[in-house]
Structure formats: structure tokens, C-alpha cells
């Protein structure tokens, strides 16, 4: 039977570009002229001055359900231009003209969106509020952490920003200016809808070697230079099992009284937006991250020492019996202190896999034994290596 590695090598050799002749390269100057012609519609946007800062500060009306309905109707009235789908594939000019942000309304909307999101990331609620229209509906964004009975008031926005800060939120935007950070979802004469993706760390995920978590986004509708609707879509496929749920388990067991204040209910699916709750989120996030990072540091020290022993005593052969014994001893030392909740799942798995590695190394080798290169062994090695604090326990690196 063909092995995994052989299939991967087949895939490498199936590279379609290998079958092409080298493309004749046009001279750069000629190509540049062509590009200039194609991008003539873009020039205006590159010289468009940045939008004026929103002038309405601290003006606000409560929005609640009625306003949400009004905004929904307004959004429904937008002629959402699905540019991707309606662009004629055969027309270069059409595509370049529609793809390039040569519309001042869209450019301004993107600038407003960027300013708002950056203000959130900097925990500057007052600055964020300056980008909002009087009747802006931001309740979907404020409720995005599962908070209930949110109306979308300025005070709630301040609490929401404080909650993010308390939870150690780190917002990661696309720092590379490849394309605009925000993508246009649709536009009408009056309003523009944008989707702005971001990655994030939360609840000490960075400190415990998890994340950043990708794929989340803000959806913003901008009219006349002001945000009229804001929502956040958190993609929690990885975040929830890795961070949110272990954190909730830990808090609810270790501090059950606090958990009732921090969470909306006993499902632990939503954070409560109150000052008292936020104080507890800050305290427990800090403790949770600290216990995790201390355990990672400890593991790193033990694995480093084991790696040093392998270098000094391990002999010339890779993954031998003596390497296995050293790893086994390191695992005994590591397991002497049970991992805290913050890192328990990843360390439990890493310990089990590392133990398999150690057992394999210590097993007498027989004819045809592939223990040093078997797929399972290598898979285990890669997974152990991916566990923060455990890298050195794979004994990779210079010997």
C-alpha cells in the first residue's frame, strides 16, 4: 500500500506549474504602462483626502428593539451590490473599476470603520462613540458575548469595552497593507456595509500558548460618515473548547459565588455587563493566565533539562532506549504537579503522547521496526512539539 509520504510526494510532483513552460516575461516598463492604464480609475482614491473626523460627540439616543427594526428596514432598503457575483468575468476594466476602492463614499466608510475598530482595540470607548450616529444600533455587538437585555446605550458600550479589557482582549488586525482591512458587503447611494475581519486573544489565551483565534469579524453599516449599525461575529470553533469552556469550568468550581456574578446564567455562555462582574472577570482572567503560564514555564525548564541530558548522555543514535528513559523520567517529574485548568487539556494530551513516545523508544527494537520514523511516532512528536512548554521534550534541535 502506498504510504502517506509517498502520496505527498506524488502531490508535490503533480504541481500544475511544473507542466507549463516558463512564461515569457514582458519587460517591466511595458507591464507598468499596462497597469497604469488599467488602474486609471484608482488615481482619484489615492489622492482623496482622509475623511473628516465625525463631529457628533456624545450624542446618542437609546435604540432598543424599535430602532433595531428601523435600521433593519433601512438596511433592507440598501441595494446591496454583490460585486463578486455581478462582475463580468471577461471585462478587465469592469473588474478593476469595481474592485478598486475608487468611490469616496466607500473609502470614507472604510476609514470610519477602521477608526472605530481601532478605538475598541485600544479600549477607548469615548473615541469609539464619536464614530456612531445618534440612532446607531450597536446592541448586536454589545450582546455578542452573550450579555442579555442589552439596549445599546453609551453606558453599555463603555461597560462592554471595560469587559473586553478585563478579559485581556487583544485585537489583531491585518497589519499588512495587502488589501483594505474591511471588505465591502454592499452599498447604496446613502450607506455602505462593510465586513472587517480580526483575530483575537482573550482570557489569557496568549499567555497560555493558545490562539490567536482567527475568522471573527465586525459588520458595520456606515451612513454619512457615521456608523448606524454594528455587530460582531465571534468565531469560537477553536476558542470555545480551548479557552472559554475551561475557564468557565475553573471559575465555576473554584469560585462558584463569583461565577454567578460574572455569567448571565448557569450555562456560562454569556458574560454579564455590570461593573461588579467586570471586576471579577479582570481578577480571574489574570489568575487563570498566571497559573497557566507558570505551569508552562515549569514544563519548559524540565524539558530543557531533559534535552540537555540527551545531548550529554544520549549517544549518537536518535530516539534510542536511553532517550526514552530520559523522557520517561522527565514525564514523571512533569506529572508530579497536575496541570491547572487553564492548560490541563493540552498537557494531559501531550503527556499521554510523550509517554507513548518514551515507551516506543524504550521498547526493544526488532527487525523491520520503524519506531524512529513511524507515522504514529512522528504525529505524536509533532503534537508534543506544538504544546507550549513541551517543545524541548521532543529532543529536536542541535545535538
Amino acid at each position: 500500500m502506498i504510504t502517506d509520504d509517498e502520496v505527498v510526494r506524488l502531490f508535490e510532483r503533480a504541481d500544475p506549474a511544473r507542466r507549463d513552460d516558463v512564461a515569457p516575461i514582458i519587460d517591466a516598463a511595458g507591464y507598468l504602462d499596462t497597469l497604469r492604464t488599467r488602474s486609471s480609475t484608482v488615481v482619484t482614491i489615492e489622492t482623496t483626502p482622509p475623511p473628516a473626523e465625525p463631529t457628533n460627540r456624545h450624542r446618542w439616543r437609546f435604540t432598543a428593539a424599535a430602532a433595531a427594526a428601523v435600521v433593519a428596514i433601512g438596511i433592507g432598503a440598501l441595494v446591496l451590490v454583490a460585486r463578486d457575483d455581478e462582475t463580468e468575468p471577461g471585462s478587465d476594466q469592469t473588474r478593476v473599476a469595481t474592485k478598486a476602492p475608487n468611490n469616496p463614499q466607500i473609502a470614507n466608510a472604510k476609514a470610519v470603520a477602521t477608526g472605530f475598530i481601532e478605538a475598541l482595540g485600544a479600549f477607548d470607548a469615548d473615541q469609539a462613540i464619536t464614530y456612531l450616529a445618534d440612532d446607531a444600533d450597536i446592541s448586536p455587538m454589545l450582546a455578542s458575548e452573550g450579555s442579555q437585555a442589552v439596549e445599546g446605550t453609551p453606558e453599555e458600550l463603555r461597560l462592554f469595552v471595560s469587559l473586553l479589557e478585563a478579559q485581556g482582549y487583544q485585537q489583531i488586525l491585518d497589519s499588512r497593507p495587502i488589501v483594505d482591512m474591511c471588505r465591502e458587503l454592499g452599498s447604496s447611494a446613502a450607506a455602505t456595509s462593510l465586513r472587517c475581519p480580526f483575530d483575537f486573544h482573550l482570557l489569557g489565551s496568549k499567555e497560555i500558548g493558545r490562539g490567536p483565534f482567527s475568522g471573527s469579524s465586525f459588520d458595520l453599516t456606515i451612513r454619512d460618515g457615521q456608523i448606524v449599525r454594528a455587530s460582531t461575529d465571534w468565531v469560537t470553533t477553536e476558542f470555545s473548547p480551548q479557552i472559554w469552556e475551561p475557564f468557565a469550568n475553573w471559575v465555576s468550581r473554584a469560585y462558584p459565588a463569583d461565577a454567578t456574578v460574572m455569567y448571565e446564567d448557569a450555562t456560562y455562555g454569556g458574560a454579564r455587563l455590570t461593573a461588579q462582574s467586570i471586576r471579577l472577570w479582570e481578577q480571574h482572567t489574570r489568575d487563570y493566565a498566571a497559573t497557566g503560564s507558570q505551569y508552562i514555564d515549569r514544563a519548559n525548564q524540565i524539558c530543557n533539562a531533559a534535552h540537555q541530558r540527551v545531548i550529554q548522555e544520549g549517544g549518537d543514535e536518535f530516539y534510542t532506549n536511553s532517550w526514552g528513559r530520559i523522557l520517561d523520567q522527565a514525564l514523571t517529574e512533569l506529572r508530579a504537579v497536575p496541570p491547572p485548568e487553564a492548560v490541563r487539556a493540552q498537557f494531559d494530551q501531550a503527556y499521554a503522547l510523550a509517554q507513548q513516545m518514551a515507551d516506543t523508544m524504550m521498547r526493544p527494537r526488532g527487525v523491520g521496526d520503524t519506531q524512529d520514523g513511524g507515522t504514529d511516532f512522528i504525529d505524536a512528536l509533532h503534537q508534543v512539539e506544538a504544546t507550549p512548554g513541551m517543545q524541548e521534550c521532543t529532543f529536536h534541535g542541535p545535538r
Binding site: M1, F11, E12, A28, D84, I178, D199
Partner: protein, 193 residues
């Protein structure tokens, strides 16, 4: 690339010269990148769009080898834009199928034969989009995990996990297709491989 005061210094002929250098150095890798993911008649267009964006954003281009990674990131989005268009995607699938069915050139491919190539590409087509892209970037663009993470805007750990999963699933799908092929009457008569 900006000066310490943060003002763009690239203007006029300086910008043109820098673009020419970028273009000469990276045209072929970017064309290959697009060729690997698009039908032939869409490739030149995608390359042009990639370099158009590069020209407009020349001031922000990273220096050194990272420039190519940056361009891959642009090309990835340009290609993705084309793929997301439903109408285009359908047409593209037809074209890709036509390409896949085409026999391999013996002169070009001394090792892999047409059936193996068709099977392994079909197996790759069964992977998830991001897993397949991670595999392509690793196998065809020969990018490091860190560079793949940069292009796809995901964490290096996630790249490692996806790469591991993609390799395993690619092999599983390949074997499944191979087994199905070998069980056909043509194969039984020795007509397939």
C-alpha cells in the same frame, strides 16, 4: 517602506524602478502561484491584478524575501476573489476537469504518470479549502510554516495542525480513489494502470 517621519518617499521614477525590480524578481513565482489555482485563461488576469495592487502599495512593501510572501498574500486574495464568484467557479471547475483529464506530458513529467497525477489532484480536491491551500503552499510554493501563516493570516500552530491533517487526509483519499479505480472492470483487465 517609509522614512522615519512616516512620509512616503517613493515617487516617480524611483517607484517605477522599484516596481521593475519587484516585477522581474517575482513575476514567475506569482504566475506559478496563480497557475496552480486557476484555469489558464484566468492566470494572466490574476497576475496583473496582483501586481496592480503591489504597484499601488509599493510604499508598504516589506523588504527582502518577505516581499514574495507579501505578494503571495495579495495573489491568494485575488485568486480567492475569483473563486468566490459562483458563476466563475462553475466555469472554472469545468476547465479544471478538462485539464485534469488531459494526459500528462511525458517529456515534462518523467516520474509521475497521468493516472497518479489525476488521482492525487482529485484526492486534494476533496480536502477542506484551507487545508488544501496549506498543502499547496507547502508542497508547491515550498513556503515555511511561518510564511504560510502569514499568507493565510492564521497562527503557525494552526498551520502545523492543518498541514498534518491535510497530509493524512490526502493519503486517505488517494488510497480510497485508487482502490475504487482498481475495482473497476477496466482495472481488473489491466486497462487502467
Amino acid at each position: 517602506m517609509r522614512d522615519r517621519a512616516g512620509t512616503a518617499w517613493l515617487e516617480g521614477s524611483c517607484k517605477d524602478a522599484l516596481f521593475a525590480q519587484l516585477y522581474r524578481r517575482h513575476y514567475q513565482p506569482i504566475r506559478d502561484f496563480c497557475r496552480r489555482r486557476l484555469a489558464r485563461d484566468l492566470v494572466d488576469d490574476a497576475v496583473a491584478e496582483t501586481f496592480l495592487i503591489a504597484w499601488r502599495r509599493l510604499e508598504d512593501l516589506p523588504v527582502g524575501d518577505q516581499a514574495l510572501v507579501w505578494l503571495y498574500g495579495v495573489a491568494y486574495r485575488v485568486v480567492g476573489h475569483q473563486w468566490r464568484s459562483t458563476a466563475r467557479r462553475l466555469r472554472l471547475q469545468e476547465r479544471l476537469q478538462a485539464i485534469v483529464r488531459r494526459p500528462a506530458s511525458a517529456a515534462d513529467e518523467p516520474v509521475i504518470d497521468a493516472d497518479e497525477r489525476r488521482l492525487v489532484l482529485a484526492a486534494a480536491a476533496r480536502l477542506g479549502d484551507t487545508d488544501a491551500e496549506v498543502l499547496r503552499l507547502a508542497a508547491w510554493e515550498q513556503l515555511s510554516v511561518v510564511d504560510i501563516a502569514t499568507v493565510l493570516e492564521i497562527a503557525p500552530n494552526a498551520v502545523n495542525q492543518r498541514l498534518h491533517r491535510a497530509r493524512r487526509n490526502l493519503a486517505r483519499e488517494y488510497r480510497r480513489l485508487q482502490s475504487r479505480q482498481n475495482s473497476t472492470p477496466a482495472a481488473a483487465k489491466g486497462g487502467t494502470r
